[in-house]
């Protein structure tokens, strides 16, 4: 699949990530992600569109910790898209793996077939529901909602959209000003919030964009590359300078 215009991509530098969770909160605020409470999290039903995985190596007494922010990989050969019976998830002409909430009937097949397990399901109605009295049950709580983003119904699948509302906004703005989009003009919520600048978003088709530059880095790898899902999210592998820390 060739993308004529934009091909959005995200680069995450694992060397820079400190696991502060700012991106998680920023994403939650930006995309109207419901807070579901301890009980649901315990039942493995988190709603975060970006989460930070931790892996450890070495001994338990002196572990090395690795943080890995995981979001939808926006694969160009996305296994989740093939299997949706109602075309609720498909590929945009800009390389986005997009989700049409209105069309989703909630078969959860995409969730199963996603090797990264980054798709989220609305197990209950989280709005106006006293059982989930966190941020969307009361009028006051609802004031935090972002008017640019849909509030999802019960029974639909959702996931990271690369902040498509921000992409569209900036594209429109550039069009109104009759100019091309500048690199780094579009910032996803996670990128904006990252204090270390570990997350970079941009156009992969633009050779000079920052994200393309990072993709050229020899440290770059894709998650589960052997499955040939062709993710649009690239990671820069973590490098430890063991010799120096020992001396």
């Amino acid at each position: 699949m060739k993308y004529d215009g934009f091909h959005w991509g995200l680069a995450i530098d694992l060397n820079l990530c400190v696991g502060c969770n700012s991106c998680v909160i920023a994403c939650q605020a930006e995309n109207n992600i419901p807070v579901v409470g301890k009980e649901e999290v315990r039942r493995r039903r988190i709603m975060h569109w970006i989460k930070i995985d931790r892996y450890y190596s070495d001994t338990p007494d002196d572990p090395k910790v690795y943080f890995q922010p995981i979001t939808c990989q926006h694969c160009d050969n996305a296994p989740c898209e093939n299997v949706c019976p109602v075309s609720a998830t498909n590929h945009s002409s800009e390389g986005l793996n997009q989700m049409t909430y209105n069309r989703c009937i909630g078969t959860k097949y995409c969730i199963n077939n996603c090797p990264y397990k980054v798709r989220r399901f609305n197990w209950f109605r989280y709005t106006n529901n006293k059982a989930f009295d966190f941020n969307t049950a009361s009028d006051l709580g609802k004031m935090v909602l972002n008017p640019d983003v849909t509030v999802r119904e019960r029974g639909v699948v959702e996931k990271c959209s690369f902040c498509v509302q921000r992409i569209q906004e900036k594209k429109l703005q550039a069009k109104l000003e009759n100019r091309t989009l500048r690199d780094n003009e579009i910032k996803t919520a996670c990128m904006q919030a990252c204090p270390a600048g570990a997350i970079i978003f941009g156009n992969l088709n633009d050779r000079n964009s920052k994200v393309s530059g990072i993709f050229e880095n020899p440290r770059r790898y894709h998650l589960l590359e052997e499955l040939h899902t062709l993710p649009s999210v690239g990671y820069l592998t973590k490098v430890w300078n063991d010799e120096e820390s020992k001396s």
Binding site: M1, C75, D76, N77, A78, P79, C80, E81, N82, C84, S87, N90, H91, L230
Partner: protein, 177 residues
């Protein structure tokens, strides 16, 4: 119009068949026979043929072409959508869909054809010449409207000779079948 039929009742398949053969040898035209289960010799003797398989073949052909055309139209021409990097015309997937929908179409069409040709429709009452035919008797029915009495007698004796347990005449006002 009132019509007269001669009805012969048989107990056993062999006698029933030999009776049909001897009636046909004397060139009496058999109106129809009724049996509790399908007797294949009867189909040969009465030259009964069904064109349902041919019809089904054409239903199938029509369905295959129709479904493939529909799939091509919807996913390549009308609104092509990219799913996971698959081509718009993802033929292996279409084969699966085509097989099933063809099967579906052939079934429905054959059922409809069967129902229409055999006049078997829920609630319909076809003429029953002798109600024992659905239980344990083999029944031969001969239309005797145009036959004179002696011929009609000849049929009776022929049937009796071949072992009919009962032979009788019956009038029918209207025939549905």
């Amino acid at each position: 119009m009132k019509r007269v039929f001669k009805i012969g009742i048989f107990d056993e398949e062999e006698r029933f068949i030999s009776s049909i053969e001897s009636l046909q040898k004397k060139e009496f035209k058999i109106y129809d026979v009724f049996t509790p289960y399908p007797v294949h010799e009867v189909f040969h003797l009465l030259k009964r043929k069904s064109r349902l398989p041919t019809a089904a073949y054409f239903f199938g052909l029509f369905a295959i072409i129709g479904v493939l055309a529909f799939l091509y139209y919807t996913s390549v021409i009308d609104w092509p959508i990219v799913y996971g990097g698959k081509p718009f015309n993802s033929f292996p997937s279409f084969i699966v869909v085509t097989i099933v929908i063809t099967i579906f179409t052939v079934t429905i069409a054959s059922l409809a054809a069967f129902s229409a040709r055999s006049k078997l429709i829920p609630g319909r009452e076809n003429t029953i010449f002798d109600s024992r035919a659905t239980d344990d008797k083999f029944v031969i029915v001969v239309n005797t409207d145009l036959l004179d009495n002696s011929k009609s007698e000849q049929i009776t004796t022929l049937m009796k000779e071949n072992g009919a347990v009962e032979v009788y005449d019956k009038d029918f006002e209207n025939i549905y079948a």
